[in-house]
Amino acid sequence: MTEDQHSSVLTGAYALGSLDEFERARFERHLEVCAECRDEVDSFHETLAALGTAEAVPAPSSMKGSVLQGVAQTRQLRPEVAVSAPRSRVARMFALAACAAGLLVSGGVVGQVLSPAPTPGPLSASSVLEDSHRRTSEVAMGDGRMEVSVVANQAVVSTHDVSAPGEGKVYQLWAMTDSGPVSLGVMHRAGDQYMSLVGELSGANALAVTAEPKGGSTLPTSAAMALVEV
């Protein structure tokens, strides 16, 4: 598949941690289905572990006490029994990571404004996409499709095989609420995909995408290209 061929070149950049949050989330979707890339990424991680080990410096002596004290007070996660355990380990590892401010949320959110905090938070694409309890639905959009993964009140929206919205246009995501459409912002472009991260879904009955003039609109100015109930 062309998308796979396009993705496979990212194994190095991914292992090096040099993808941004959206590229990372997108590539992790690819890893889910591509054992070849998965093996390559694993081998790169082993290689980099050799580089990392070569950097060893004795940790400050005060650190051990603090860590052990933390351990005494920290409950361990329960083992995962999900089918996709090997792959979600990676996703979780990266979900640990806080992402750079601004990359987290591509648009506004319904009901509240989330500040792009620099600390690790629950709102990241990987934290939704790795969740074994996520609900995923898919609808047609143009020539391709739009996928929505929902966990609790958060969602990741991504397009697949959807062509660009056209010169001077953007894709904008909307929450369809009882009182009408509310903008969730312009969708973030990641390669040939468009993605949005929705931090707060409450009040939304459905999500919709329209093509809007660059910069986005306050209300939809065209018919929905995709509509999915949440």
Binding site: V9, L10, T11, G12, A13, L16, G17, S18, L19, D20, R38, D39, D42, S43, H45, E46, T47, L48, A49, A50, L51, G52, T53, A54, E55, A56, V57, P58, A59, P60, S62, M63, K64, S66, V67, L68, G70, V71, A72, T74, R75, Q76, L77, R78, P79, E80, A85, P86, R89, R92, M93, L96, A97, C99, A100, G102, P116, P118, T119, P120
Partner: protein, 216 residues
């Protein structure tokens, strides 16, 4: 694995550092490195079952690499300690979910450390103007970074493996791994198209992997 393996000294650093060259010469399945990794793996299995004593041993094995790698990226000692501490605590917390099917426990922990360090760098830089950073600071700085990284590498083996890469491969890899740059930033810093950066990173890692004999 024998827990009292003489090849895995508990007295840190000197002897361990000395053995590093050997570690890398051989594949992890058969040689010294293999034994070290096997020991870390079996410790991790016990930690996964909530064994705090095993965690302490695991800490002794990995806190040096973790702290060193984080320090390399973050540079500030106090901040690095904070990040390294967070990593070790996460190792404890997530140990039950580590799966050996995706690689060694060492690689799992160091990957986590790398990402935490990169996050620290990116979040502390997020408030600065990105354009400013990329345009003025990184470009003149990268030469010295590459040099410094290369000259301070503890392992001759790793160093000579890096030397076998092409210049762009080495630079792309170094800027991403030791400076925490995104591929876009690397592309700007090296003045090379993004597509080239992606392929050089991958090609470089493949060469490095084959050279070091540490395939998964």
């Amino acid at each position: 694995m024998d827990m009292t393996n003489p090849l895995t000294p508990t007295a840190p650093n000197k002897s361990r550092r000395g053995s590093k060259v050997n570690e890398l010469k051989v594949t992890r399945r058969t040689g010294v490195e293999g034994d070290l990794n096997a020991r870390v793996n079996s410790l991790m299995a016990r930690v996964a079952r909530g064994d705090e004593a095993a965690f302490e041993d695991l800490y002794d094995e990995l806190s040096g690499p973790v702290f060193g790698l984080v320090l390399k990226l973050v540079r500030d000692r106090a901040q690095s300690e904070e990040v390294a501490q967070e990593v070790m605590l996460e190792v404890w917390r997530q140990a039950p979910r580590y799966s050996s099917s995706r690689g060694t426990a060492r690689s799992w922990v160091l990957t986590m450390a790398h990402h935490k360090a990169v996050d620290r760098i990116r979040s502390s830089e997020a408030s600065q103007a990105r354009d400013d950073k990329v345009g003025r600071e990184e470009v003149p700085a990268f030469d010295s970074v590459v040099e410094e990284v290369e000259s301070r590498l503890a392992s001759q083996e790793v160093r000579s493996a890096l030397e076998e890469l092409t210049e762009v491969q080495r630079e792309a890899l170094t800027l991403a791994y030791y400076k925490g740059m995104t591929q876009q930033e690397v592309s700007v810093a090296l003045d090379v198209p993004l597509g080239t950066v992606k392929t050089r990173m991958r090609d470089g890692l493949i060469r490095l992997r084959d050279k070091l004999g540490v395939g998964a």
